[in-house]
Symmetry: C2
Subunit: 244 residues, 2 copies
């Protein structure tokens, strides 16, 4: 078995499809062109044509849109096992920008690589469609969250969702996880001011639910936080493979 | 050539991939189990397991989430050529509900049907992944719109996006399109009150930009509306096939 058998993408797709040796080998070849990107480097920007897509294997990435008025709306964060810019490749013109938070490792993937992989194993196509559906389900949750959840519940939901995503790829648990995000990331993702972010985090900490401090999220009361945020992780679909 | 060669889904996917006779035949078989659903009938609801997916061939559908407080957030509308509930099938538990607006026709599709189609033509897998990416790009646009656009620009953007989507499947143009949505649909989709919707529509009409009346959207000044909404349709990727 190659080391790629345990890559974050493999761990993630295994939640949807039980992967055979042959399918693992195809996934391994998709990781062939590995690259390193430094923190803050622009990997792809809004409006750019002919952009490459990547599979993130370590580190975090921030995806955002710049508004006509210059403000930044963070659409999502990518964690290991996520695709970067897959939508940009398929839609030809990138509808968003993305940049690494800290140094990252990622493998470059072209449309032709994906097509070749799908020819070899159509089940992988289903698995990647599943991953894309899951990404869409998350954006829908955020859409609903901004429309309807108050600031405290929005933050609680956000920290729980990240925890579930990280647990799936083996770098988080119901105890907590390492998190490189700053208050500015949180503000631009949740549509709140940085001052408001600090107040919300203090409130959640003083309620004994969750502590975010020194690059670490600690769930002080996981089930209490789930109740508070009305967090139902069904949309993340992590209960084991559908396709055996 | 079968009549399905001109199905809305075929028209839509042709924007991404030039379809061969064999691929058209596979798409035709996906339309095998046709069904009719009456207006207002619940086709699938939030939290439902083992739901079917559908390819919509005529009529409009509304997808929404019910919040814990009982309010409804409309996530999107589906028009001919769109999948219904594909995300629900792949993620096993539906993260949203959907119901027809007026009577509709749709073909039922199971995960096994999709997998079989992907085995026969991997290019179709790429095309459906493209369609899913495009759906996600739309949700992202809505997310950004609710966060940052004012009510008039949000409405203008919404009517332009629908027009582009309908033009792709041959039932809309820069002149306008038939639209069965009520002010209540618009209110729940755009996060505004029904009273506010009427005011916004009157303003856009009096500015000579667009008129929505008696089930018809008429673009009185298409390019003026595009400027007003800062509408850049690149995220809808309708400029012709990437895969020849």
């Amino acid at each position: 078995m190659t080391p790629v058998a345990a890559s974050p993408l493999t761990l993630k797709l295994s939640a949807f499809v039980a992967l055979s040796e042959a399918e693992l080998a195809v996934l391994a070849r998709l990781h062939g062109r590995r690259r390193t990107f430094a923190a803050g480097r622009d990997m792809g920007h809004q409006g750019q044509p002919d952009q490459a897509a990547y599979i993130l294997s370590s580190g975090w990435v921030c995806s955002y849109k710049i508004q006509p008025d210059g403000t930044r709306q963070i659409v999502d964060f990518q964690v290991p096992g996520d695709f970067l810019g897959l939508r940009s490749v398929l839609l030809r013109t990138s509808d968003h920008s993305f940049e690494p938070i800290g140094d990252i490792q990622a493998a470059e993937v072209l449309t032709s690589d994906l097509l070749e992989a799908f020819v070899q194993t159509p089940r992988l196509a289903m698995a990647i469609l599943w991953a894309a559906s899951r990404d869409e389900a998350m954006v829908v949750e955020h859409l609903v969250g901004i429309g309807r959840r108050d600031a405290d519940a929005r933050m609680a939901h956000f920290l729980l969702e990240l925890g579930s995503r990280l647990a799936l790829v083996g770098i988080g648990s119901k105890e907590g996880y390492d998190c490189p995000l700053t208050q500015y990331h949180l503000a631009d993702a949740l549509g709140l001011s940085a001052v408001h972010i600090n107040r919300v985090l203090r409130q959640l900490r003083e309620s004994g639910l969750v502590t975010f401090r020194d690059g670490r999220v600690t769930f002080d009361n996981y089930s209490g936080l789930v109740d508070f945020a009305e967090f139902d992780p069904a949309y993340l679909d992590q209960t084991g493979p559908l396709l055996k």
